[in-house]
């Protein structure tokens, strides 16, 4: 609790959190939606924002606001699955490879590099095409998770490598501390900011990737997400027909979401960085 109170003193955290909370509330509002997200022609089409439809309606006869609540919910689900699952893999691989080194490191990093060096996007597109019929939210999330860990595993590993070079590792190892305690007590605090920032980056990447896949038509387009909402707006030429309320909704939501995440991550990583904390809290040296 103290940590949270501390974090809230940073305006970036506070603002980021408020935006994020706002989006989560939006996502939850979807459960109260008076409309079916998939059905069309439920409301008059192409109407600008009004009291009845606060963000207007689209060319498919859907209420843009309520569609957006579904879109943000589904995109968050995809991104969280992708982010969390890939984080677990990345942390495990990064820590083990970085700390153990040797053959295991080489094997793991070979694997990660293999994933990275193959034009990932191409494989992603091919697999997405293969699975298109079954590209549900969970599957999309898992697919992205599968492709999203390699990069960060490498980053985390290099951080561990550099930590291993530091004096406290030698001291700690010499003083007979166990590996687990070393990893958890000494490494985790140092890598947490990195993990958090990779998580945020990964979520941003997942959301961006979902949008790319949707624009290429490689997900199930009838399930509203930020990407498919955008794709429909593009298909129906919302931009050039002047239906700004339709096309800007997913774009603005994406920007809001990623800005909020970015602020949260920057703030959290500053808080978690031990050196920074010294500066922030005072002269406890």
């Amino acid at each position: 609790m103290e940590a949270l109170r501390e974090l809230f003193r940073d305006y970036r955290f506070a603002v980021g959190f408020v935006i994020f909370l706002f989006l989560v509330v939006l996502a939850f509002l979807s459960f109260a939606s008076p409309y079916d997200p998939i059905r069309q022609l439920q409301v008059p089409r192409d109407r600008p924002p009004s009291r009845a439809h606060i963000l207007g309606t689209n060319s498919k006869g859907q209420d843009v606001f309520w569609e957006a609540t579904f879109a943000i919910r589904n995109s968050l689900i995809i991104a969280l699955i992708a982010g969390l699952v890939s984080r677990i893999v990345a942390i495990l691989v990064g820590f083990v490879a970085g700390y153990r080194g040797g053959t295991l490191d080489r094997v793991l990093m070979g694997l990660a590099d293999g994933l990275l060096v193959i034009p990932l996007f191409l494989i992603l597109v091919m697999v997405a095409m293969l699975l298109r019929g079954s590209m549900t939210l969970v599957n999309t999330g898992l697919l992205l998770a599968f492709f999203g860990w390699a990069w960060d595993a490498r980053t985390i590993r290099s951080q561990i490598l550099s930590l291993r070079e530091r004096e406290f590792t030698k001291t700690s190892v010499l003083s007979g501390n166990g590996t687990m305690s070393l990893v958890i007590r000494e490494y985790l605090p140092f890598t947490t900011p990195l993990i958090f920032s990779t998580l945020i980056n990964n979520i941003a990447w997942a959301i961006g990737m979902e949008i790319v896949l949707a624009i290429l038509g490689l997900v199930r387009l009838e399930i509203p997400t930020l990407g498919t909402t955008l794709q429909w707006a593009i298909t129906y030429q919302a931009m050039l027909l002047g239906h700004w309320w339709w096309i800007s909704t997913p774009v603005v939501l994406t920007i809001l979401l990623l800005v909020a995440l970015y602020w949260l991550s920057v703030s959290v990583s500053e808080y978690l960085d031990p050196r920074m904390r010294i500066q922030r809290i005072g002269a406890r040296s």
């Binding site: 809230f8 003193r9 305006y11 070079e165 005072g282 002269a283 406890r284 040296s285």
Partner: protein, 332 residues
């Protein structure tokens, strides 16, 4: 005995701005000190009592969130007293390394890891010495190292290629490159093994003897103070609680806190468990009323909880404790 640095009632706090107002960490809370020429001056105290911050203030390195709230720091340059905190930044930068220099805590990592040591030395030299050719400056650095008994070849090395002790000695060499009158050394031996510690301390003493300048040696290790320093001050919760000749302090420690520090030293043949003061130093953001040490002091009485004792002279020493007023008897 002329002072090189005089601090007068220094106050410097960390001010943390948060959404719910300010939080003030009183790291240096009314410190007055006179650091004389040609000595090794010790500064002791547990972690978190403001030693490092005091050094920063003495160096004139006040960057947010650390802010100056009162008092002066006087340097004696060419017989004149200069108020270091009132000097323009440019002027202050000029005095660094020529008048006062600094070996930071954890100075193992003071070198740019991707540059050869020569580059780092040159960076410092070129910033302070004007009108000389690179070659001359390099020769100066080499000569300096030789004077300190280090091989000039290490200039061609990268920092990670040196051992910890060696790196520390190079750091000292870097700090003394321009023969400053005062060197502030913050825990220079903390991370080293005993052999390396001795080498570093030896080097510091040598430098002091050769240059006849002042080294302010900050360490929590009372053993080092006992062997190296001539005068010393004990710091607690942002204040100086005792000051005097090192020998005097070790023979007749006046402040109960000093007594704890000395008693915590291991002695040869002493099988008793080492004692230390119960508890830990108070948070500098929430100081207790009265004497900041009273919550840990076995001898505390009514007055200690209400008033803050001033630093007063008791013989050759100075102490901030009501028990040591002239009317009280020394009992230890």
């Amino acid at each position: 005995m002329l002072p090189v640095i005089r601090a007068e009632d220094l106050q410097a706090f960390y001010v943390l701005e948060t959404l719910r107002g300010k939080k003030v960490v009183r790291a240096v809370n009314g410190v007055s000190l006179v650091i004389p020429e040609n000595t090794v001056y010790g500064l002791a105290g547990e972690s978190g009592c403001g030693k490092t911050t005091l050094l920063k203030v003495l160096l004139g390195n006040l960057e947010p969130p650390l802010r100056h709230f009162g008092g002066r720091v006087l340097y004696r340059v060419d017989g004149e007293y200069l108020d270091a905190l009132a000097l323009p930044e440019g002027k202050r930068q000029k005095l660094r390394w020529t008048y006062i220099s600094y070996i930071p805590q954890g100075s193992m990592s003071v070198f740019n890891p991707v540059a050869k040591l020569r580059t780092t030395f040159m960076d410092f030299l070129e910033s302070h010495v004007s009108g000389k050719m690179r070659q001359e400056l390099l020769r100066h650095a080499e000569e300096h190292l030789e004077r300190l008994g280090l091989s000039p070849k290490i200039l061609e090395a990268y920092p990670h290629q040196l051992s910890g002790g060696m790196r520390q000695r190079v750091a000292i060499a870097l700090a003394t490159l321009l023969n400053p009158r005062v060197i502030l050394a913050d825990e220079p031996t903390t991370a080293l093994d005993v052999v390396a510690q001795r080498a570093v301390l030896q080097l510091l003493s040598d430098i002091q003897r050769k240059l006849r300048n002042t080294i302010v040696l900050v360490t929590h290790d009372m053993g080092i103070h006992a062997t190296v320093t001539t005068r010393m001050a004990i710091m607690y919760a942002g204040r100086i609680v005792e000051e005097g000749w090192t020998q005097d302090i070790f023979t007749t420690p006046l402040h109960p806190y000093t007594q704890y520090l000395i008693r915590s030293l291991p002695r040869i043949g002493d099988k008793r468990l080492r004692e230390s003061a119960p508890g830990s130093p108070p948070s500098l953001a929430q100081l207790p009323p009265g004497c900041p040490f009273h919550p840990r002091c076995p001898l505390a009485f009514e007055r200690c909880r209400e008033e803050v004792p001033e630093l007063e002279e008791v013989g050759e020493q100075k102490v901030a404790c009501f028990l040591r007023r002239a009317s009280h008897v020394v009992t230890s």
